[in-house]
């Protein structure tokens, strides 16, 4: 639409809006749709190739065709002989452990800072904001030497701690916002009815903050699930490595086991994309919390 010389009447505008909503799509809408669909396709394109390659039969890997002539599940069945089951278990342990730890540590901190003004509150929130800005990669050498010093190389605990520590900030922000939006009168009412302070927190506030809690947990889980650099540095024995490191291990200096690599990648990626789509809207608000509304 081009600029309009005279402001159209409200009713005319209204009519056009409803027509657009109900009637057949305008050319503009069609153009929008086509470009949006093409862009959306480009964004999932690499992951489609990931799936297709993982389903290529071994004898078709080295045929330069866009799509294979046959599809086969063999990569997925033979995958487990490479020890991937162990790697999957380690990843689940790390991601699950980090998620639980974040829940235990971030919830009380977020609740307290949302409900009370106390000395050091600002200092605490600055500390949290700063950790959100730091990436474990930047501290790699320090983390490495620290855990060598504690004899915690190849320990699942070290990765649980690191992942929890670096993802806690996001959880604190998003939970802080949720707790802050729940009126404290609700809790006080429950306390007057005989609940203890903790009882009120568990029975009234936490259920109301459930969407925030779920978002924080899913986000932590995914971040820990996908983490690569620290795991690559701290987990040196193959049967202690999480999926990401194991998948990188399929990349050989002379030959690469592409089919197994992508079968493992599909297993590691698709669930995460679905989980992430569920919390998509809330993630941005958490990541940018403290800076924009």
């Amino acid at each position: 639409m081009t600029a309009i010389s005279a402001p159209p009447s409200v009713s005319a505008q209204q009519a056009r809006l409803t027509q657009r909503r109900r009637g057949r799509p305008t050319w503009k809408t069609i153009a929008l749709m086509v470009s949006a669909y093409i862009i959306a396709f480009l964004f999932i394109f690499p992951y489609l190739d990931m799936i297709v390659t993982s389903l290529r039969p071994t004898n078709e890997l080295l045929t330069p065709t866009i799509l294979p002539h046959h599809y086969s599940w063999s990569s997925y069945t033979s995958l487990w002989k490479t020890g991937l089951g162990t790697n999957l278990k380690i990843t689940l342990l790390i991601a699950g452990g980090a998620t639980v730890l974040v829940l235990l540590v971030a919830t009380p901190a977020a609740y307290f800072t949302a409900r009370h003004k106390f000395r050091g509150r600002m200092a605490f929130l600055i500390l949290v904001l700063i950790t959100q800005m730091f990436q474990p990669t930047a501290l790699l050498v320090g983390i490495y030497r620290q855990f060598v010093g504690f004899h915690m190389l190849n320990s699942v605990w070290s990765l649980i701690l690191v992942n929890a520590g670096f993802n806690m900030a996001f959880a604190v922000w998003i939970l802080n916002a949720y707790f802050g939006s729940i009126p404290r009168e609700l809790e006080e009412a429950a306390m007057v009815e005989g609940s203890s302070r903790l009882g009120a927190l568990f029975r009234v506030t936490l259920p109301l903050a459930a969407p925030g809690v779920v978002t924080a947990l899913v986000f932590t889980f995914i971040a820990a699930w996908n983490e690569f650099v620290i795991a690559l540095t701290l987990m040196t024995t193959p049967n202690k490595q999480p999926l990401t490191v194991a998948i990188n291990g399929f990349l050989g200096a002379y030959s690469t086991d592409w089919q197994h690599m992508f079968a493992a990648s599909v297993i590691a990626t698709i669930p995460v994309i679905i989980l992430f789509a569920l919390i998509e809207r809330k993630v941005v608000s958490g990541l940018t919390a403290g800076s924009i509304k």
């Binding site: 639409m1 600029a3 309009i4 010389s5 929008l32 949006a36 862009i39 964004f43 999932i44 690499p46 992951y47 080295l62 330069p64 065709t65 540590v105 009380p108 307290f112 800072t113 106390f118 050091g120 600002m122 605490f124 500390l127 950790t131 800005m133 730091f134 990436q135 930047a138 501290l139 790699l140 320090g142 030497r145 620290q146 701690l161 929890a164 520590g165 670096f166 009168e185 609700l186 006080e188 009412a189 009815e193 995914i222 996908n226 690569f228 650099v229 540095t233 990401t244 998948i247 990349l251 590691a268 990626t269 995460v272 994309i273 998509e280 941005v284 940018t288 403290g290 800076s291 924009i292």
Partner: protein, 321 residues
């Protein structure tokens, strides 16, 4: 619990609190000052152990002599730093890091402004297309990088096959079909992949910013007779500034610390032609831990500057209070 009972009860509790607060005992006051620690103590502990302690260890290591077996051989003064600065690759690595960050972040922001504008329109299926946009954000960056490495495989990579079918590539399995093997083409492809994985977050952040702009603002601009582009420049962009600032800074941090893309696709090669400071730190870690720590400290200094800028520009304070 019935609502009728809850409402007046809440009111009563409210009116009593100030009185209770005035008559605090000494024990209560002690509890008040230690109480917070009970709630936020675990979080502080975790931050100290996982974030602050490694910083201390890292800085200390930068001033130590470390043997190739990881033993401390005493202090090194500034020697790790001078050795680092005199490495032949160092200057190129720093220059490349600046190009890497500026190119990736700059292009990402421009493209995501356009994408956000598109996905902010109403059209059937918008929700589904927005989900597709998420994929590179949710998926592990490592795996995205590995897929691109495969798609660029000189013999069987899908991108090369498509280029070949279209006629833009003469021979598969030739040097021209191996963009990651040449320094002139490797870096542009790495930048492309980094932009690809950065776009979802920045686009979503801008979409969130767009949704905070009230519709009346646009109506007013329309009444004034502004053209679309003029409205965008004078109304939308200024109102998007907070969202843009935060998205840019978070993006800068991510791209600056980005490791998996380069490591999985080229290992920093050929030669050092795709090595950034973060990758260089990792490469040095295998050779000389002290020098690697010195590189980390230099990196870390830059990170602190970026964080300081972030704290200054963002309005985190008004949100917290």
């Amino acid at each position: 619990m019935s609502n009728e009972a809850a409402a007046p009860a809440a009111h009563m509790a409210d009116s009593h609190t100030p009185i209770r607060r005035r008559k605090r005992s000494v024990g209560r006051r002690l509890a008040d000052s230690f109480g917070p620690l009970l709630w936020i103590g675990p979080a502080i502990g975790l931050i100290c152990f996982v974030v602050l302690w490694p910083v201390v260890v890292m800085v200390r290591t930068a001033f130590q002599r470390v043997s190739s077996f990881g033993e401390i051989k005493g202090g090194a003064g500034w020697r790790n730093f001078t050795r680092l600065f005199h490495e032949l690759a160092f200057k190129g690595v720093v220059e490349r890091t600046i190009i890497w960050v500026v190119a990736v972040v700059g292009i990402t922001m421009l493209v995501s402004l356009a994408l956000a504008q598109l996905f902010n329109q109403r059209f059937p299926g918008r929700r589904v297309t927005r989900w597709a946009l998420i994929a590179p954000w949710a998926a592990s960056v490592l795996m995205t990088a590995l897929v691109f490495k495969w798609m660029l495989h000189s013999g069987y990579g899908l991108i090369n096959i498509l280029l070949h079918d279209v006629g833009l590539l003469n021979n598969l399995n030739s040097a021209s079909a191996d963009p990651l093997g040449k320094s002139s083409t490797a870096m542009p492809w790495l930048i492309f992949v980094a932009i690809f994985v950065s776009l979802p977050f920045t686009t979503y952040a801008i979409l969130a910013g767009l949704s905070t702009i009230p519709g009346e603002v646009y109506e007013a601009a329309k009444v004034d007779g502004s053209s679309r582009w003029h409205t965008y420049r004078t109304v939308t962009l200024p109102l998007l500034r907070p969202a843009l600032t935060v998205a840019t800074l978070i993006n800068v941090m991510n791209v600056f610390n980005s490791f998996p893309i380069i490591w999985a696709m080229t290992h920093g090669g050929p030669g050092y032609s795709t090595t950034t400071t973060t990758v260089y730190m990792y490469v040095l870690k295998g050779k000389d831990l002290g020098e690697s720590a010195a590189m980390s400290v230099v990196n870390f200094g830059l990170v602190i500057i970026i964080v300081a800028v972030f704290l200054r520009i963002s309005r985190w304070k008004s949100e917290v209070e």
